[in-house]
């Protein structure tokens, strides 16, 4: 009864603020609320940026929903108003009344307008779509487009997707770039084989005056018994490992490398005949790398000479280097490279030759050409055709494209019946691009552009290009077409495929959309299964983990050289870290592993390098595989994966505040409020005089700080057991105070200081823990919260809309539906797809 009265009163008060006509003059309760909130949140004093005088009632302005939701949450949690200005009972009633209004308003918004307003392809989705549309799996266009903003943790959220003329200009440019690659107006590229014998024609050695290799002449590599023995990893502009020849044609290439792992025992006479090649003492790993860029393929170097073979795509004219992942870096200061005339014993990788073959082409013209021009013949252009000379083709990728005249050209696509051909080709293209059937009028509109070109005597491909560019700039391609209420089959198919494949639907899915079968839950279920089992689901795994777990920031910092010499330029380790986290997510998906596995697991996805980092024995080779964790291990879950520990550190120091806040936000879904403006920042100091924990001690002393930091710091304290790259540690490293330590990394000696000991203990919500596993036990006490976080993020990512007030009960529904499966990831994905939130706009 009391509550009912309060609701009515609050109703008055809420509208009162907004309309600035406080009718509460004679009302006691309203006055008390007035006294409770307005004092700190009006035009003069607007704490936390809240101005109640500007906030309109929900009924008048649904755009105020996020702010009203925040007010509700703070009051409900008892955080506002402070100092008990409102009795507990009244606060609860206030929150309940507000909740009702929030729910009603948000439901109405979802029913009439939909949760998601005109979502647009982000640049990853755009690139994937063009790749699938043209069947060009290595097409690169996303860097042409402006970066996408992020909301709710993801870069595909519709309500922050603003568009500007810059987008349109860049869409036109990206379309041109993709069309150039797809048209392939040229004769079939000639596939060639290029074999480099390392001791003959690689730049792998110092040459003598007669441009002959000088045996044993260079310290990083030497010729020993017909083998090129590489002793260092490349890392400088003078790198001797550059591969001489470049393959200018983009495409898929086959690499074959004859190599073996070695140990070299050199007496230092300078005569290669005296050097002994011994069997390797460790398993070596190598790769071919695009200089300063991506790794094509890591492989284990055989202990006995053998040929390693793999295929990888090249973008054309790329500078390749042979990368010795398990060898030390030659760029290390202090002259650690073993001079040739000094006795040297150490590991190496011996290479005899390397062969590149490609581009490997199965059909010509390629499928992409057929999708644009069907079976129309490609002929050489002549003046006699009466047509204007074709626009030059281009070569290169993205913004690096440049005009190019293919040998024997220019070529043109010949159409004897341009009206019919353009109509037919455009219809097929538009249906793919728009992910739905198209109407005759739509085709006619685009065809008119092509026919205008034909009328101006443009050759067929140049005329068609105008129309194709228009299709790729049309909102029908760039936006999701979703009407309020239940999504139709095509809209649902698009939503589903952009969720699970990050790209457009395939023919199978479109067929289910057409027949209407996709609306049936069991069909939806089997489609989800089919799609998750398709290799394209790898895009979901990569993109979701990259954003959820901040993997995209892994290269933002590098380990400090003086403090962490052992990690210098260990890009193989970083590559392995990323691999571990995506493999772990895939494993969760495969085995329907649940929320619990976010925090804890009895296995890890490791290769040899990661196992070394974690101190786990018995893992050999670069392939990542499932490894059982020993009892009592401090690893398990995402929580202690090296990639996580790296992105939450800065390369120099770790901060319990940063790591703690990260765990609360990303793994538990309870982000702490942002720091107050006057919070200040701690200047990291590595001189070893104090620990970060001591620097943070004022948080405990100052009650204003303590409220938040009592939540934030503890998970970070437990994670202090791991250094900036994720290895275990008992003491901080320092460049000043502490004990000097000498260690061997590769064949060099390194020094650093061990400073203060680590203290990993803390208190979480009143319960004490001593170490990371103690923390794990406490975190796992609230498994539904971990699942809730995962469910919220999946739903946001799947639909392109954040979790609003009315979605909260839907999220609880997802938990309810998957409780029996211990909130398994695969089950959660099914539940998301089957929810009204996913199936309605």
């Amino acid at each position: 009864m009391v509550a009912a009265t309060i609701i009515i009163r609050i109703g008055i008060v809420l509208s009162a603020w907004a309309a600035a006509q406080c009718a509460a003059g004679d009302d006691l309760i309203a006055k008390r609320i007035d006294n409770s909130c307005v004092e700190c949140h009006d035009a003069d004093v607007h704490k936390a940026g809240l101005r109640l005088d500007q906030l309109k009632p929900l009924a008048q302005d649904p755009a105020g929903l996020p702010m009203w939701t925040r007010i509700h949450d703070r009051v409900e949690a008892g955080e506002m108003p402070p100092k008990k200005k409102l009795g507990a009972e009244e606060a609860r009633a206030f929150a309940e009344a507000l909740a009702k209004e929030l729910m009603a308003t948000d439901r109405e918004r979802q029913r009439t307008a939909g949760r998601v307003a005109a979502r647009r392809l982000n640049r990853v989705e755009y690139e994937n779509s063009l790749r699938d549309l043209f069947d060009l799996p290595t097409l690169e266009v996303k860097d042409i487009l402006p970066p996408d903003p992020s909301s709710g943790g993801f870069d595909n959220v519709a309500n922050v997707q603003d568009v500007s003329y810059v987008h349109i200009a860049r869409y036109l440019e990206a379309a041109d770039s993709a069309l150039d690659a797809a048209m392939a107006l040229r004769p079939k590229p000639v596939s060639k084989v290029d074999r480099q014998v390392f001791i003959e024609n690689g730049r792998f050695f110092e040459e003598d005056d007669h441009h002959k290799p000088k045996p044993g002449g260079r310290s990083e590599s030497r010729v020993v018994h017909e083998w090129m023995a590489l002793l260092r990893q490349p890392n400088s502009a003078q790198s001797p490992w550059d591969l001489h020849d470049r393959m200018d044609e983009p495409g898929l290439y086959r690499f074959r490398i004859r190599c073996k792992g070695i140990a070299i025992d050199s007496p230092g006479t300078g005569d290669a005949n005296d050097d002994k090649l011994l069997p390797p003492t460790v398993n070596h790993v190598a790769s071919v790398q695009v200089k300063d860029g991506r790794f094509l393929h890591f492989f284990d170097v055989p202990a006995v000479a053998a040929v390693v073979e793999f295929t990888a795509p090249l973008l054309g004219n790329e500078h390749l280097v042979f990368y010795c992942a398990t060898l030390d870096d030659r760029g290390q200061p202090g002259g650690s490279s073993p001079p040739a005339k000094v006795p040297y014993k150490g590991p190496g990788i011996a290479v005899e030759w390397m062969e590149m073959e490609g581009p490997l082409i199965e059909q010509w013209p390629p499928e992409s050409h057929r999708r644009l021009f069907g079976d129309l013949p490609l002929v050489k252009w002549t003046k006699e055709s009466g047509l204007r000379e074709p626009e030059p083709s281009t070569i290169g990728t993205g913004l690096e494209r440049r005009p190019w005249h293919p040998p024997g050209g220019p070529y043109m696509v010949e159409s004897k019946h341009p009206a019919e051909d353009s109509e037919r080709l455009l219809r097929a293209f538009m249906e793919r691009a728009y992910r739905r059937p198209v109407e005759a009028g739509e085709v006619r509109r685009m065809q008119a552009l092509a026919m205008e070109g034909v009328a101006q005597k443009r050759c067929f491909q140049d005329a068609m290009r105008i129309a194709y560019k228009a299709v790729l700039t049309s909102p029908d391609f760039l936006f999701f077409r979703e009407a309020p209420g239940r999504l139709d089959g095509y809209a649902l198919a698009s939503r589903l495929s952009y969720f699970l494949w990050r790209s457009m639907p395939d023919d199978g899915l479109l067929a289910e959309a057409k027949s209407g079968a996709l609306g049936r839950t069991e069909v939806l279920r089997s489609e989800v299964e089919r799609m998750l089992n398709d290799p394209k689901a790898g895009r979901l795994v990569a993109d979701f983990t990259s954003q959820w777990l901040d993997q995209c920031n892994i290269f933002a910092t590098v380990p400090d050289r003086p403090l962490y010499p052992e990690y210098f330029c260990d890009n193989y380790l970083i590559d392995s870290m990323l691999g571990e986290t995506t493999a772990y997510f895939s494993e969760m998906l495969k085995g329907d592993l649940g929320a619990r596995q976010v925090i804890s697991s009895d296995f890890a996805m490791l290769n040899e390098r990661l196992a070394q980092l974690y101190g786990i024995k018995g893992v050999t080779g670069c392939a990542i595989r499932k490894v059982p964790l020993p009892a009592g291990s401090d690893r398990g879950g995402f929580l202690t994966q090296a990639s996580i520990l790296k992105v939450t550190a800065n390369g120099l120091t770790t901060s319990p505040v940063k790591r703690g806040a990260w765990v609360l936000d990303h793994l538990l879904g309870t982000p702490p409020p942002p720091p107050p403006p006057d919070a200040g920042a701690i200047e990291p100091d590595t001189r070893g005089a104090t620990t970060i924990r001591e620097q943070l001690s004022k948080h405990r002393a100052n009650p204003v700080c303590a409220t938040c930091h009592a939540m934030i710091d503890p998970p970070g304290f437990a994670l202090e057991a791991f250094d900036v790259m994720g290895a275990d540690r008992q003491r901080y490293r320092s460049v000043g105070k502490g004990d000097e330590v000498t260690a061997t990394v590769g064949v060099r000696e390194v020094r650093y200081h061990l400073g203060m000991p680590i203290d990993c203990s803390g208190q979480l919500a009143g319960a004490a823990f001593n170490d990371i596993n103690g923390l794990r036990t406490l975190l796992l006490a609230d498994e539904p919260q971990i699942a809730r976080n995962l469910a919220r993020r999946l739903l946001t990512f799947a639909t392109g809309a954040g979790i609003s007030f009315a979605d909260r009960s839907a999220v609880e529904g997802l938990l309810e539906a998957t409780k029996d499966k211990r909130y398994g990831l695969r089950s959660l994905i099914h539940a998301v797809v089957e929810s009204d939130q996913f199936r309605d706009k």
Binding site: P146, V163, V166, I168, A448, L478, P684, R687, G802
Partner: protein, 440 residues
């Protein structure tokens, strides 16, 4: 920007009149050119009175380095004139009378450590938080008002990656141009008549694409609900905005580009060459201003883990900024920043040497140089090291504000906009001109 209701007059640039002089000869630093104008421009200029367009051309060059500047080597101790120059200011020694150094300034509510680099010229609050939407940048605000006076309304460049400091009214980043050869080509390389025709043909083709897509967007707009309509409206506006820009581009395409005595610079592809790349961009900026190809340039200088090839520096800039007070790292960081300030000194010298009818190019060019972090080691965003050189202000002093309670840097931006001849009393969080900074 609002659109006139009458489409025809919008699309036909040739039936307007203008108050700009038809041929103004500019000479300076080997640059001689005819300043063309577009008839379609003047009526759009809005805030700028024709008389002010006739006055001195006012320019603005905004430069941000993204990894902080060591404050101990930047901020002088004494306020006002006659301060004791700090090491970095000593490098600018010859130009101290032509610049004002600020302390105790920052961008209100712009926090988030590295994220703040997106907001150096926008002043939009809390860039690190989810759902952040940027706002228009200083240069684009100006470009909307004076941009049509020149071939390029503004230019957004960067050293190293593809980002920039420039954001449109919708908060969308204008990708930064990082290739010197492409910049030079766009500015100065005159195509053959055939090439010009082909380019005009392409621009027209793209306009007909935009027209067609615009029609389609309008049609769709009638079929969707109100929430979607807002988005499609924005798309439609963007199509029209680009269409308008293509009209302008076509007009300019038909006018010869300025002839200059400079050779096309070679692209510097080495990521370690941050200093050489900066120098090359500074050179291009001087040429672009001197030829009046544009009056607004932004330059974003990205530094990350790559080791700059500067003698004595053995580590990447970003890891050096996480110095943890190690003396070796601080020394290397100073080497890098010394080199950067030497380049800035070179730019100011070159601008000053470039003679204009009423003085030097520096007199008409505001050069804003600064960074988004007061201390990169702590990732703090207050007490930003910033200075302003040239452009027609009374310089030579150190404007010292409260280091505890910072003064809004956005007020400086209001001053700069007014100096460009734009009548505005606010920009972003700035609501007044900068206290203590007077026009020359």
């Amino acid at each position: 920007m609002t659109w006139p209701a009458d489409k025809d007059t919008t699309m036909n640039p040739l039936n307007r009149t203008s108050n700009l002089p038809r041929r103004t000869l500019l000479k300076g630093l080997g640059v001689a050119l005819a300043l063309p104008f577009l008839d379609c421009m003047a009526p759009r200029l809005g805030a700028v009175e024709p008389s002010s367009a006739l006055a001195l051309p006012r320019r603005m060059f905004c430069i941000e380095t993204n990894q902080g500047i060591l404050p101990q080597h930047f901020f002088p101790e004494q306020p006002g004139r006659g301060y004791q120059p700090t090491p970095y200011l000593k490098i600018l020694g010859d130009h101290l009378a032509d610049l004002t150094v600020f302390s105790g300034v920052s961008l209100p509510e712009v926090d988030g450590g590295h994220h703040a680099e997106l907001c150096f010229l926008t002043g939009a609050g809390h860039p690190g938080r989810g759902g952040f939407r940027n706002t228009i940048s200083l240069d684009q605000f100006a470009a909307e008002r004076i941009g049509l006076l020149t071939r390029f309304s503004s230019l957004s460049w960067c050293v190293d990656n593809n980002n920039s400091l420039s954001f449109t009214g919708a908060g969308v980043m204008i990708p930064g141009e990082n290739k010197q050869s492409r910049i030079f080509k766009r500015l100065f390389i005159q195509g053959t008549p055939d090439e010009v025709e082909a380019q005009v043909g392409r621009l027209r083709e793209e306009r007909s694409i935009l027209d067609q897509v615009g029609e389609r967007t309008k049609q769709l707009n009638g079929e969707v609900g109100s929430a979607d309509r807002d988005k499609l409206d924005q798309y439609f506006t963007s199509l029209r905005e680009l269409e308008r820009r293509l009209v302008v581009a076509e007009e300019w395409e038909r006018r010869p580009k300025p002839k200059i005595d400079a050779k096309m610079p070679a692209d510097i592809n080495d990521r370690a060459a941050v200093i050489e790349r900066t120098r090359s961009m500074f050179d291009l900026a001087r040429l672009a201003f001197a030829s009046d190809s544009t009056r607004l340039i932004t330059l974003y200088i990205n530094q990350d883990f790559v080791r700059p090839n500067i003698a004595g520096v053995t580590d990447g800039t970003h890891q050096l900024t996480h110095h943890g007070n190690q003396p070796e790292k601080l020394a290397m960081l100073k080497l890098i920043e010394d080199a950067q300030f030497r380049e800035l000194a070179g730019l100011l010298t070159a601008l000053k040497a470039a003679k204009e009818p009423h003085g030097s190019l520096l007199d008409t060019t505001m050069v804003l140089y600064g960074t988004n972090m007061g201390s990169a080691n702590a990732h703090s965003n207050d007490n930003l090291p910033v200075l302003l050189a040239g452009g027609g202000f009374k310089h030579g002093s150190h404007l010292a504000f409260d280091r505890k309670k910072n003064y809004p840097l956005t007020n400086l931006y209001v001053s700069m906009l007014q100096r460009l001849g734009i009548e505005t009393s606010q920009f972003s969080s700035g609501v007044a001109t900068m206290h203590g900074l007077e026009l020359a």
